[in-house]
């Protein structure tokens, strides 16, 4: 049988109100009584029942986390950032994955709300309009990750995707590349992939290069998919001198396809990635990438949520964290004459 506040009260010969006070407002209780109660609490090993507590307080010290996949390099590192800091605030997280299914997303939003989660950290690959609407209506704080959503009402943490893609393209250009393919992700409601595309385009145009649609392909975040895309390039005899993938996994898929077809990376084709998950520096050749501070994105999201829970909406609604370009082994100067 679990020991309750009542047991403690009886044994300490006080009312349950006093015991409650000892726990929540110790200063309202005489030192003498407080000590006696504390002693009994200890002796009996009493721990307040959080369920009962949250029924009356309407708070759970629980934060819901909704992600598309759990077994994903990108997500994993963000999760670590979240989980690492959440406990210092004495919160716990309740987690689910949606596979990017929008109905699931809405369902879990509701479930977590019902479970009295005090806030929700939300992440998806493709933002859906209905989901945005649903989030806007929720009366607990929601923070989105990795989205510079155009809907300013929803707080978010991410990097500047436009600038990052711009810089990477510029880097390739400076290396002498002119045939630069872009393997990007499918379009969705917000500016995520679009921003990257714009950055790419802008860099090219500054070099007086027009976008060649043949070089632009849509992937779906998976390795196999980008592998196939590059195989298509090869089959179509369209061989860019550089391939810019908007995720590391896609970059690796591209490199594998190139290698498997006898092309040398980076000697013949440069391939660069985006995100800098750990795999990017484990793989050989190590990937040249745009580094996102994944761990920080997670911990900043937590801070934002907790600020909002506490009612201090002081901070920015849209947080842009710094990225950086890391040059490693998967890219080099173009051999082609310009």
């Amino acid at each position: 049988m679990k020991v309750t506040i009542k047991d403690v009260a009886e044994k300490a010969d006080v009312s349950i109100a006093t015991v409650s006070r000892v726990i929540n407002n110790p200063h309202l209780v005489t030192e003498k009584v407080r000590e006696r109660v504390l002693e009994v609490i200890n002796e009996l090993g009493f721990r307040p029942n959080p369920v009962a507590r949250s029924l009356v307080m309407k708070k759970n010290r629980l934060i819901g986390v909704i992600v598309p996949e759990l077994s994903n390099f990108f997500v994993g590192e963000i999760m670590n950032g979240i989980d690492e800091i959440i406990h210092t605030h004495e919160y716990d997280i309740i987690v689910c994955h949606t596979r990017g299914d929008h109905e699931q997303e809405i369902r879990y939003l509701d479930i977590f709300y019902d479970k009295q989660a005090e806030g929700i950290i939300f992440m998806t690959w493709n933002l859906d309009n209905k989901v945005v609407e649903h989030i806007s209506k929720m009366d607990i704080p929601v923070v989105m990750i990795n989205r510079n959503t155009s809907n300013l009402a929803i707080p978010s943490v991410s990097i500047d995707n436009y600038k990052a893609a711009y810089e990477m393209t510029q880097y390739l250009l400076k290396k002498g590349h002119r045939k630069i393919a872009l393997i990007r992700n499918s379009i969705d409601v917000d500016a995520f992939g679009l921003e990257q595309y714009k950055g790419y385009k802008q860099a090219l145009s500054e070099y007086g290069i027009e976008v060649n649609e043949k070089y632009i392909r849509y992937g779906n975040f998976s390795m196999d998919n980008s592998y196939k895309i590059v195989m298509d390039f090869i089959e179509e005899k369209i061989i860019p001198t550089a391939i810019f993938c908007t995720s590391d996994i896609m970059a690796i898929g591209a490199i594998n396809a190139l290698k498997d077809s006898g092309y040398k990376v980076p000697e013949e084709v440069s391939v660069v990635g985006f995100n800098d998950v750990r795999l990017a520096s484990i793989y050989r050749p190590r990937l040249t990438v745009i580094h996102q501070p994944l761990f920080n994105i997670g911990s900043v999201a937590v801070k934002m949520i907790i600020d909002r829970i506490k009612g201090k909406n002081s901070g920015e609604n849209i947080v842009i964290l710094p990225h950086r370009l890391i040059e490693r082994e998967s890219s080099s100067s173009s051999r082609e004459e310009n």
Copy 2:
């Protein structure tokens, strides 16, 4: 304001008891009344408060999951298996990571218990005696992952580590290798790494080979660590013809060290891994490995937990899932004469 059962009762002009019945035991209510109530529920968008519910039922439909790391390939795939199946049982998971810290493990065990989790899925790198003891005392079901723990009282899911290591060593032996290094993990209280070591030893002895302690090193699951270990091998001029690593990440660390030192894999040195995380077939050369059914381990753990929650302890307490050896590109026949 959230709509409660009371609101529904009033609007439908019945007692809250009836509303409750409509939700939990519809057959106890006249069809006519039931329909009216259902209508009001729909109209008002009423969703029962799970917190109040679990206060009286003493159940939360919550299962705690404790893992060492969240941003880990191995853990991630198991987590997916867990999360995938948990929702079909209408449970949710509450997650934390411990970094393998034993005090944290105990702390979270308690926290999840307090939060009324109905069961806990537990995973760690190194099993500690105190933790085992703590688990044994808990009065909610706990299932351990990846442990053939000697303490039969704790249910667990894993593969047969002894047999798997035996088979892998035998495979290497058959390929003509005689100098087979083993990079294993640190010892802990249970049979995990030990079983693997025994399997390795047994295979060798069947070939009349004595274990050469110089070839046995202790890693810590990290890539950097096994990288260093192999660098040490090279420095000490101890070059095995094959290296058996008890995790894929360590195998990749080993290959990287070899590559960076000018050795060819598998031409000069074969390297094999253990687990078969996705990375194992993404990396080049693709890793020869012992495949563990990670996703299944997760989902079986869930089934076991739920069985136990429902009181059917019918199934086995120790579940051993099948593994298999997958030969890929990181291993080949030994060039050395025997």
